[in-house]
Symmetry: none
Subunit: 211 residues, 4 copies
DNA sequence: CATGAATGAGCTTTCATTCAT
DNA sequence: AATGAATGAAAGCTCATTCAT
């Protein structure tokens, strides 16, 4: 029969929730993070979270949505292009750009929460289905298993490189740069050309002809 | 009342628990798998699990232990070797061999449970610490960030390639083979040599002499 | 900015709340109906409900009040009458009339929410106390348990008949008519007289003389 | 990391849970009774309830099941009989017998929890469907609405009479007896015969001829 | 070698209610 | 006349863990 005090904080609680959730989900994982923890860190009650989000899952969906939008654009763009060697190279670069623009936050988040993300179906399509759509748009029909895997690895290289960089003293920029050069090493198209020349530095410059 | 074990399950309940846990931890993750589930699948009570393991964590430790042993051997071996280009190449091959021998089970398990594994400290050293030990043994002191990352990516390529292969119709052998060729592509040492030659097919055969 | 109410809903939000609450309380019961639901159906916030009512209970009190008023009139009237056979017969008819005038809405509502209603004490007297007051006014002091129960059943027959009619394809008018005839069958006074005559069809018409 | 004491109470906790739940569900209703309350009354934790029942609903199902079994027998029996005037009379008596055997507990319970009971579908059929099955077995195809309702009311008379008896100082036996006589008054078959005779006293004895 | 019975802590979620604006 | 933002309490439920038998 008694109840709370209502309204208090002036600014943007919803944004703060997202921010704290992002941090905790990345640090400890979605499943291991409780709503109590998020609320406590914010000096708010659990019920307040439910004013802004309909469920715990809703928070994670909301966090992932912005990333997904950019990703969906990439897919849409890829579909409009005519398949060919250049497309793949461009797609890889776009993928890395996506990550470097938003900084490493989202990559780390996605890495730490694959499982939940795998279960989400925002916009009637799972992330895996989208991924496969992209792969298919880039991979010709007659690709070998190895070729297909190299393309996949190239596209996912940012994620993996960030994972591998754990414990290494390197800036986000350095990691992203390494991811880019790795991606192009894996790219079956550029690999042959650039291989003989500059294996370590990113093949940003013109590809020198091979003897 | 007659002679015999007096219990219905033949012998190796402990092994069965490990087997079921392996399956479920890989499928749904450690945190999302409850002891109830494991027990139910085995037709045993939860309490029975506590006869064989002291805690839930104990199960995961036990599962990871065998993998860790092989890995520790790899580290020990690497430390005895004199650093140099060949060491790295051999280490990569050993790493892939480890995975292909045990089959993909352990790789998938480790992939699905990085977080718990990260928190384990079996033998007074975390997996990450061991990983870094290995990296340091293989990477010379003056290595650039990019070089370091390529080495790490090369060593972890089996894991990542299995991840990337999700949704692709490929056998374990095919994935492992692709991982091997990817690893060697990333290897700063072999990359220069093999690049001009056989970028796609695995360099299993003898290394062609370099001009 | 122009003249007018300045708000979108014409006027009688309070009435709309009552109407929606009536519907939901009847359909799902008081306890199982949340204020959120009521508010949502109305396109209003929960807080708005508190502008018009002081509590959830206040809503149910308000809904039941109109029914109670009519009922209190019946009690008051009964008390002014001299006890006797005719009084009971008239009281039963008034009881049924009450229901048929307001339609079945209130009967169904009361049926679905006995428990809350039992806990209400509007006007310093619970519904049960009022009921007993009425029963006492109608039942002579020397009545047997069975006689008392038949009178009670007769007075409550509308409610019970509506309950029993669930799943039967019958109009409100038909149910009310059946309730009336059942009530009079149970009435110890009229029973003897009408019994020999028209047991099934309602004794709406004049009672044909017996023998 | 700390945990409970395990095993303590020697006897039949499950039965005690059922007993306490029966009491509370009847007194305050299913929805208004919390598992915490049940547990507290028993000096047990909520989790203990979940050892014995899979859910709150499971408790109510379990409580209602015994009643339902008897009821299903009645339906099964009714279906084997050839329809006719006697069948109805016998069915009514069986219905009342059911209640008087088990005492009033179940009747009061059912009365207080219609809503939950309505939502249960034990054995792939709701209580309402069963009720209708019985009604159809007893009511001829050409029955009028009023006739149908009188039969229904007759069969449900125990329930309703117990409800009506609230606040009246009467023993279970007296209430049951009254319910029986009321049921037979409503029975279209016996009504005609007994009407002329003994409307108030139960028609168990022979009907004395009227002057 | 294993079960039966239980615990305590915690989880996600919902509810009625409040109050400054 | 009504909303936006929040609260405190409680609900149903699950989990890892314990221990006498």
């Amino acid at each position: 029969m008694a109840a709370g005090t209502g309204h208090r904080r002036g600014s943007d609680t919803k944004a703060e929730i997202r921010s704290v959730a992002m941090e905790l989900f990345t640090e400890k994982g979605y499943e291991a993070t409780s709503l109590r923890e998020i609320a406590e860190r914010l000096g708010v009650t659990k019920a307040a979270l439910y004013y802004h989000f309909t469920s715990k899952e809703d928070i994670v969906v909301s966090l992932f949505a912005e990333h997904l939008a950019t990703f969906d654009e990439l897919i849409a763009w890829a579909r409009t292009q005519t398949p060919g060697p250049q497309l793949l190279t461009q797609a890889i670069d776009r993928m890395i750009d996506m990550a470097s623009e938003r900084g490493s936050r989202m990559v780390r988040f996605a890495l730490a929460n694959q499982r939940v993300i795998k279960d989400l179906h925002p916009g009637h399509q799972s992330v895996h289905e989208r991924m496969n759509t992209l792969f298919e748009a880039l991979t010709g029909p007659g690709a070998s298993v190895e070729e297909a895997l190299r393309i996949r690895m190239a596209l996912l290289s940012v994620n993996f490189t960030y994972f591998a960089a754990q414990g290494l003293d390197a800036s986000d920029a350095e990691v992203t740069a390494a991811a880019r050069s790795i991606a192009h090493l894996l790219n079956p198209v550029t690999a042959e050309a650039s291989a003989a020349a500059a294996p370590v530095t990113p093949p940003v410059a013109e590809a020198p002809a091979v003897g």
